[in-house]
């Protein structure tokens, strides 16, 4: 697989992100890229510091940018948790990352994240991306937004959960589940990039 990685300095990405409220768009991680900011420690809802490298699985690693407040994140929450819990037991490392600045969105404060993780029965870390540093390194822009890396640490899927946020019973395309299944089985992901409407990440302002 050819790695198509955009190399951009963090300073450039930060400058783009803080120029007004517009979302930096040019630097989204490309298919084939390796996990950025893998050793950055983030505070988990259990109080421990966790990095993406810490959670990496033998079969693959799923990083989902999500949050408490976004209606799309709420609508998909149960499916995200089901997929996360299910594939965590099949060798995929799973982590949910909240990059919203709680100064902008109080509902995304740490205590409310702890409540959410407990209520939703998340069997994987739900961490605070303080300063939105990890989201910026991924080029993540919205919630929820999934990045799936294979066993070798290369990005093989980037996008949404499925094709119907609001009505789980009306889903016809299970994009993320299909990608996870392929990764666990060591096969090629059927559709590497998908999109859905979602909430913009509320990046911390400088």
């Amino acid at each position: 697989m050819t790695a198509r990685v955009f190399t951009v300095s963090l300073a450039t990405v930060l400058a783009l992100a803080v120029a007004g409220s517009e979302i930096a768009r040019a630097d989204t991680l490309a298919i084939g890229a390796s996990i950025p900011k893998a050793s950055t420690k983030m505070k988990n809802v259990d109080g421990k510091e966790v990095s993406l490298a810490d959670v990496a699985g033998q079969k693959g690693t799923l990083v989902i940018f999500t949050c408490n407040a976004c209606p799309f994140a709420k609508a998909w929450q149960d499916r995200i948790v089901d997929l996360g819990n299910s594939f965590a037991s099949r060798g995929v490392g799973v982590i949910a990352v909240n990059s919203n600045d709680p100064a902008i969105v109080p509902e995304d404060g740490y205590d409310l994240m702890k409540e959410r993780a407990e209520k939703a029965k998340m069997g994987f870390p739900y961490v605070v991306d303080a300063g939105s540093e990890v989201a910026l390194a991924f080029g993540a822009t919205r919630t929820p937004e999934a990045f799936l890396f294979d066993a070798t640490g290369q990005l093989v899927y980037h996008g949404t959960i499925d094709d119907n946020a609001k009505e789980p019973g009306s889903v016809t395309k299970t994009y993320l589940k299909d990608a996870l299944t392929a990764v666990v089985e060591g096969k090629a992901v059927p559709l590497a990039e998908t999109k859905a409407i979602g909430c913009g990440i509320k990046f911390k302002k400088a």
Partner: protein, 181 residues
Amino acid sequence: MSARVDRIAKRGRVAALTLALLSAGASVPSGPELRTATATRILEEVRRPGAQVVVVNVWATWCLPCREEFPDLVRLQRAYAPRGLRLVLVSADFDDGREEQVRRYLAGQGVDFPSFLKEGDDMEFIEGLSATWSGALPATLVYDAQGRLRHFWEGAASYATMERRVLDVLERKGSQREAGS
């Protein structure tokens, strides 16, 4: 006790005023006409003759940055409509009972022109408008009189930024006309 009496009296006055307005033929603001639309339909609206610059804004009632920039969008439309600006507002609210909510919000913002409700598959809608759009809200696209996309951005923008991009399209058109004349 007196506070309760005051509240009841106040409700009575509001009800009496409402009845008086209705009986006098006055209507409560009902908001603009709403039409469902795919990306194809939105692009038809962009290319409908008569505009010098078209601003498409995809938003939702629950979206905080969308609500923050909304008054500036309406202000921009009012300021530049005489120079040919057409504002195309597309709500991406979930489709369960959204019409009433969207209409009420638009009425509150003073929107008095037809507006749109996104319809159909997200991927098709997003890709249909711009391949560079990630899907994050709000999203704004600025087209010229020929329907060519000139500016695109995700996230809220200030009035000054919106105005600069609209003027860029209007003035580019002007300079092209001068160069061609």
